[in-house]
């Protein structure tokens, strides 16, 4: 019951705590949900990213929020784990507490219940036994009385009557004495006589009480009829019989002897005498009585004495027992167990209590029984009240009540009640035990346990939370780091992508960028060739031309870089003459150098293979970049381009590095040798050679810390260089990329003295083992003697060394006076016989005969002449002396004036070369001299036709022809240089991409025109070329003879374009749509193709102007059809798109379908003419 109660309470408490619990759970779910959401938010971008890897539109902010949300999610997860832990520990605590408490409590309760039951049972049993004994005694008395009365039946006289009473008295005394608990025994006879024994507990005395017999009547026996006897036997008669006198005589309680005198007792002191009224039905009866002699209520039983023979009641026996002993027992029990016990009648009259308070109230009518609620004991009173309140007047069916938590006053009590159902006297026993007595310790312990458990769990919770915090802190840090890493990766990928986009963009933009530049330059060329330009205009235009070229070069650089970066650069494999390419390069740059007062020298060793396989344009680009770089930073001194073949020992042997860096060369070299030893063997097998090059200058140099970084893109050794020298810093980057592509390496090498030494090697293929030219054999035979009178010391030194090696005698002179000395010593020895100089002795050794056989070559730099004044003519006169004996070769400057050249020419000095002088030029000079010598020997005439030699010279230096032809009137020298340079560039670029063709064509046209303008004997082998050459001369009719097919549907444009073209001298045929255009082409060309070779028969038109939007067949389709028809033939009719679209995509589309150029409406006359010119000019070139 108690357990149930507790459980219910618990349930209640749980149910009452449900609302906050539910809300907490809801919140927790919300948090988890949000955490999951944030996790998804975290991860969904990842997924999206992985799905659209290439979509790079994530902004950084997003990543930031991601980080933040992940941080929050970690926080929330941490919180959730903590809360879960808290719940777990809380539950554990509660359960532990609950179970320990509940089990002890239930067992204790069970024990307590037993105890209580027992406690209550005992007084009740005592009560029961008292009742029983009372009844027994009563019964015994009745039996004895019956016996005695029967014996003395019908007393005839007074004596018998007295005897009867005497016997009755004795018998009664015996019984009374034998049972000490009895309070009194009374016998009332039917005649009204009363005999009674009474014990007074107050003074422990015993009395015999009787009334005098005067009053009683012997007349008439008792009514036999019980009902009738009621009349005669009423108490009223007895009690009202006041006249009866009662006597009391004290007795010895042990013996029953009379010890005092009899006394009459007042009526109010009379004890209860059981009368006939108490046995109304002739059966035994009980009731609780009160007497003034005792504090406790008395239990009195009454029984009638029957006369069996007559069947009437002879007397009534009453026995009174004090309930005092029950109270005593209760007191004992309570004294031992604490608590309170009381016994009430069913109506609530208090019968016995464990307390000492009186059970009776004194009222005016004598002592009376007291209700339990009126008890003076507070506990009993409140307990009774509580019971009354709880159950009211309707007690539970069997009066059994067990209450565990009855709050009485300030304490809780157990209240238990039992119902003792006696037939006549139902009784209720109530036990009130303070809860503290049974459960006191348990409750206290339970509370303590709870406290300990709670504190322990709180501690565990805190420790757990700290642990979780520490652990998840690591995790969250890791997550943070990971998020950072991801964002970094992202950023990097983005950066890479953007760089990639940049490269791709540039690579794709290349033709869009180059085409307009090409157009600009082409148009400028047209303008330059215009005769009616004023000088100022001409200068301006050449300036523009230069700028454009520079811009184009820059553009090309950037595009090259982007091409390399986007992986589109492919090196071609073609045979080319490395030496010639490099010499051409040096020629080109020497002009620029001259302005800077810098000497450009090329020094290629003899063992270099003449022809190598590779990408000549790229090789040239490498050196062009390096040399231009050197020029940029070198203000005075020299720039040397050295080259040798991979055989380091020979290099050292031939003393190439007798310069200042010779000392540290071997160490440098050895390192490299070791590096390439493995390569070497394999390289030799597949005919690959390693070519070493050095570019050595005396410029400002590069700081050693920058030796590596200068090769990075947009990197310059000194930030101020951009300001001073310009440039983008792309050059070296391109160089390194190209060198690496060719299987080589480039680095900056330490150098003594100022300047930079760039060293690189290239891995290039050689076609077959070409025999090296052995100059030594060649020239030694001819007895060549050379006087080198050159300004540049470097150049002179290198050449003389080389000549010496090949077995040619050389004399060196660096100024005019020195030269005159040498010449005079050589040719007029008589004057200087006494001189004992080395040269002189050497000269001396040359015999007269030898003088005749040997060939003297005097190489004179024009700079040796004093050109500032007119002395140079005198000097020439001086030289004329030796004219017949020696061969003169003049080294000219690019700015040597025409007058000097003419003068030289007039004097018969026909052998002229341009600066710089290098090996192959020297070879040419010497070969020319030898040839002349041979001829002269053959004809016996000296000074034969020298024009031949000039020609040889020219042919040999073919690539530089425009440069060499100093007589060019149209080209000033600088433009010439630019032109050559540009031609090279365009050649290099023209190998890639179709669009470049246009540019190449333009520049070639220009150079052609220049040549014509120069009135040179141009070997025109083809009629067509002649034709065009003529055409270009006339400015107005620039398109004369060009047959143009115009496909245009708009009549207006037809008309306009026709007139425009016709004005230029072109023949125009107009067709209305693409179909007609295709047809117009097909018929004649088909016939031609079947009969004759494709080369000779020209197509019916030289060019087609094609409108893009036309009915029937538009321009794109028509072009495709024409190109299809051309397939398999060498024909390629230039098609120029004509469209009103102005978008670049249209241009791309036009070029894609096979058109060659693109014009927008309205037609710009000049642009059209230049475009047509460039395309028609190119035609014969590209065909041949």
């Amino acid at each position: 019951m108690a357990a149930k109660q507790h459980k219910r309470n618990y349930m209640i408490s749980r149910s009452s705590s449900t609302p906050p619990m539910a809300s907490f759970v809801k919140r927790l779910f919300g948090k988890i949900h949000s955490a999951v959401n944030s996790w998804e938010r975290n991860h969904s971008p990842c997924r999206r990213r992985s799905l659209h890897r290439d979509v790079e539109q994530e902004d950084l902010q997003h990543i930031n929020t991601n980080c933040l949300s992940s941080y929050y999610s970690v926080f929330v997860a941490r919180l959730a784990i903590m809360v879960m832990l808290a719940i777990l520990i809380g539950l554990l605590t509660l359960l532990t507490w609950h179970f320990t408490k509940v089990y002890t409590r239930t067992s204790l309760n069970a024990l307590a219940y037993g105890l209580r039951y027992e406690l209550l049972q005992r007084p009740v049993l005592r009560m029961w036994s008292i009742l029983n004994s009372t009844v027994e005694i009563t019964t015994a008395q009745v039996r004895l009385s019956e016996y005695v009365i029967r014996k003395y039946n019908r007393p005839e006289n007074q004596a018998q009557q007295v005897e009867l009473y005497e016997v009755m008295r004795d018998v009664t005394w015996a019984l009374f004495a034998s049972y000490r608990a009895l309070n009194s025994i009374t016998i009332k006879y039917k005649n009204g006589f009363v005999q009674a024994f009474h014990r007074d507990p107050r003074d422990n005395s015993t009395y015999y009480i009787y009334n005098d017999l005067t009053n009683y009547t012997m007349s008439g026996p008792y009514d036999v009829n019980m009902s009738s006897s009621h009349q005669g036997w009423n108490d009223q008669t007895i009690h009202s019989n006041i006249s009866a006198i009662w006597y009391r005589e004290p007795l010895d309680p042990n013996t029953g002897e009379k010890i005092g005198k009899q006394k009459a007792i007042p009526p109010d002191e009379l004890i209860n005498i059981a009368g006939i009224s108490q046995v109304p039905y002739g059966a035994a009866s009980w009731h609780v009585a009160v007497s003034k002699f005792t504090n406790s209520p008395l239990l009195s039983a009454a029984m009638p004495v029957w006369d069996e023979s007559q069947g009437n009641i002879m007397a009534v026996v009453g026995v009174t027992t004090s309930l005092y002993s029950v109270g005593q027992l209760m007191k004992e029990l309570v004294g031992f167990h604490s608590g309170h016990i009381y016994l009430t009648s069913q109506e609530g009259w208090l019968l016995a209590t464990s307390s000492t308070t009186p059970l009776l109230t004194n009222s005016s009518t004598g002592p009376k029984l007291m209700m339990a609620v009126d008890s003076q004991d507070p506990v009993i009173q409140t307990g009774a009240k509580w019971l009354l309140k709880a159950y009211g007047n309707k007690p539970p069916p069997n009066h059994e009540v067990h209450i565990e938590h009855a709050k009485l006053g300030h304490q809780t009590y157990y209240i238990d009640s039992f119902f003792l159902n006696l037939k006549r006297l139902p009784m209720v026993g109530v036990l009130i035990i303070p809860r503290k007595y049974i459960m006191g310790k348990v409750d206290e312990r339970a509370f303590k346990t709870l406290m300990i458990l709670i504190s322990a769990s709180v501690c565990i919770l805190i420790i757990g939370c700290v642990c979780i915090f520490v652990l998840t802190n690591g995790v969250s840090k890791e997550m943070k780091l990971r998020a950072e890493l991801i964002s970094h990766l992202d950023a990097r990928r983005k950066a890479e992508a953007s760089s990639n986009y940049k490269s791709q963009f540039l690579a794709n933009m290349s033709h869009e960028l180059r085409t307009p530049m090409a157009a600009v330059i082409g148009l400028l060329d047209i303008l330059i060739s215009d005769e009616c330009l004023t000088n100022e205009q001409y200068a301006t235009i050449s300036q523009i031309r230069r700028c454009s070229t520079a811009l184009l070069r820059l553009l090309n650089n950037i595009l090259d870089i982007s091409k390399v970066e986007s992986g589109k650069l492919v090196l071609e494999e073609a045979e080319f003459d490395m030496g010639r390419e490099l010499e051409g390069l040096v020629d080109m740059f020497s002009v620029q150098c001259k302005n800077h007062n810098v000497e450009t020298v090329i020094d290629l060793s003899d063992d270099m293979p003449k022809v190598v396989q590779g990408d000549s344009a790229r090789v040239v680009q490498i050196f062009a970049n390096l040399i231009s770089n050197s020029i940029k930073f070198t203000t005075s001194g020299y720039i040397i381009l050295r080259g040798w073949c991979e055989d380091p020992h020979s290099c050292i042997e031939n003393g190439k590095f007798s310069f200042d860096q010779k000392a540290l060369w071997p160490a440098q070299k050895n390192k490299l040798i070791q590096q390439e030893n493995q390569e070497k063997s394999s390289c030799k097998k597949d005919n690959r050679v390693i070519l070493w090059f050095e570019v050595d200058d005396t410029g400002c140099g590069i700081d050693p810390s920058k030796w590596e970084s200068v090769f990075e893109s947009f990197e310059q050794a000194d930030p101020s260089t951009t300001r001073l020298h310009g440039g983008t810093g792309l050059g070296l980057c391109i160089v390194r990329t190209l060198v690496n592509k060719m299987g080589g390496e480039i680095r900056v090498v330490k150098k003594n003295g100022p300047g930079t030494l760039m060293q690189l090697y290239l891995l290039l293929g050689t076609p077959v083992d070409m025999p090296l030219e052995n100059y030594k054999l060649k020239y030694a035979d001819h007895n060549l003697k050379v006087v080198l009178a050159l300004n540049g010391s470097m150049c002179r030194m290198i050449l003389s060394k080389w000549l010496f090696k090949t077995g040619v005698h050389t004399w060196e002179a660096c100024e005019w006076n020195e030269l005159t000395h040498i010449l005079q010593e050589l040719f007029i020895p008589s004057r200087y016989t006494q001189n004992l100089t080395y040269e002189c002795s050497k000269v001396e050794s040359i015999s007269k005969q030898e003088m005749e056989v040997s060939v003297f070559i005097i190489v004179i730099d024009i700079g040796l002449l004093n050109l500032s004044t007119d002395i140079w003519k005198e000097q020439l006169n001086f030289l004329d002396i030796f004219y017949k004996r020696a061969k003169f070769a003049w080294v000219l400057n690019h700015d040597t004036s025409n007058t000097i050249k003419m003068e030289l020419h007039n004097r018969g000095h026909l052998m002229m070369v341009n600066e710089p002088l290098y090996k192959s030029k020297m070879v040419q000079i010497m070969e020319a001299a030898i040839k002349e010598k041979m001829i002269s020997l053959r004809h016996g005439i000296l000074g034969g036709d020298t024009h031949e030699f000039l020609e040889i010279d020219n042919v040999h230096s073919d690539p530089e022809s425009s440069n060499d032809s100093e007589k060019s009137e149209l080209n000033c020298s600088t433009t010439g240089i630019v032109q050559v340079e540009e031609t090279r560039r365009t050649r290099s670029s023209s190998r890639y991409g179709i669009v470049n063709n246009c540019f190449l064509e333009l520049t070639e046209v220009c150079s052609e025109r220049n040549k014509q303008g120069a009135n040179e004997t141009f070997p025109v082998s083809q009629e067509k070329r002649m034709q065009y050459a003529e055409k270009t001369i006339s400015e107005q009719k620039s398109l004369k003879g060009v047959r143009i097919l115009l496909a245009e549907d708009t009549p207006i444009l037809q008309r306009v374009a026709t007139i425009m073209l016709e004005k230029m001298g072109a023949t125009v045929v107009v067709v209305g749509d693409g179909m007609q255009a295709v047809e117009a082409l097909q018929t004649p060309s088909e016939g031609g193709m079947t009969t004759q070779t494709k080369m000779r028969v020209p197509p019916p038109y030289d060019l087609i102007l094609m409108d893009c939007q036309m009915p029937k067949m538009d321009g794109y389709e028509a072009t495709k059809a024409i190109r299809r028809a051309e397939m398999g033939t060498d024909l390629h009719i230039p098609i120029v798109a004509l469209t009103a679209h102005a978008m670049s995509s249209d241009e791309a589309k036009c070029l894609e379908v096979g058109m060659d150029a693109y014009l927008t409406k309205p037609i710009d006359c000049k642009l059209m003419v230049s475009t047509i010119l460039s395309l028609t000019k190119l035609q014969p070139n590209s065909l041949t």
Binding site: P1051, I1052, L1053, R1055, V1056, I1059, A1140, K1161, P1162
Partner: protein, 152 residues
């Protein structure tokens, strides 16, 4: 003679105003330059070709835009052609409107197209009137025995 010079002055002023107000551009000058002894009526010829062509195109455009389902591709090609021809004679304002017209075509904006058609018509009529007036002036000059002054 005074009449001629006055006419010539008037002609120059008129032509200049045409350029200034943007009716014509350099292309027209180029056309005029192309006119010489071999093609004495070149400009008039081309311009009248333009008029014919334009009338036809405008009619085509009007019908094309009145269709229930407008074929924007066709409209676009008409406008394109119109743009080409107008730019060829230098009718700058017509060309500009054509550019807008084509944008609307791409957007398939019928309202815009119709509006542009009206504008194009308007501009065309304007430029036609101007050119006709110009040619009338030229005629007058020629009849008066003067020569057409060249615009620089």
């Amino acid at each position: 003679m005074a009449a001629v010079s006055q006419l010539q002055r008037q002609f120059i002023e008129y032509t200049t105003s045409l350029y200034n107000e943007g009716y014509l551009d350099d292309q027209f000058t180029q056309l005029q330059k192309l006119q010489d002894e071999s093609n004495p009526e070149f400009v008039v010829e081309v311009v009248s070709l333009f008029f014919e062509d334009s009338e036809k195109l405008l009619n085509n455009l009007a019908t094309a835009l009145q269709q229930k389902i407008v074929d924007y591709k066709q409209v676009d090609s008409h406008v394109h052609q119109f743009k080409g021809s107008s730019s060829s004679i230098g009718a700058q304002r017509v060309t500009n409107v054509c550019v807008h017209f084509r944008n609307y075509c791409e957007e398939k904006n019928l309202d815009g197209c119709l509006r542009c058609l009206q504008q194009v018509k308007h501009e065309y009529i304007l430029v036609r009137n101007k050119l006709e007036a110009l040619f009338r002036l030229e005629q007058q000059i020629l009849q008066a025995g003067g020569s057409i002054p060249m615009m620089e």
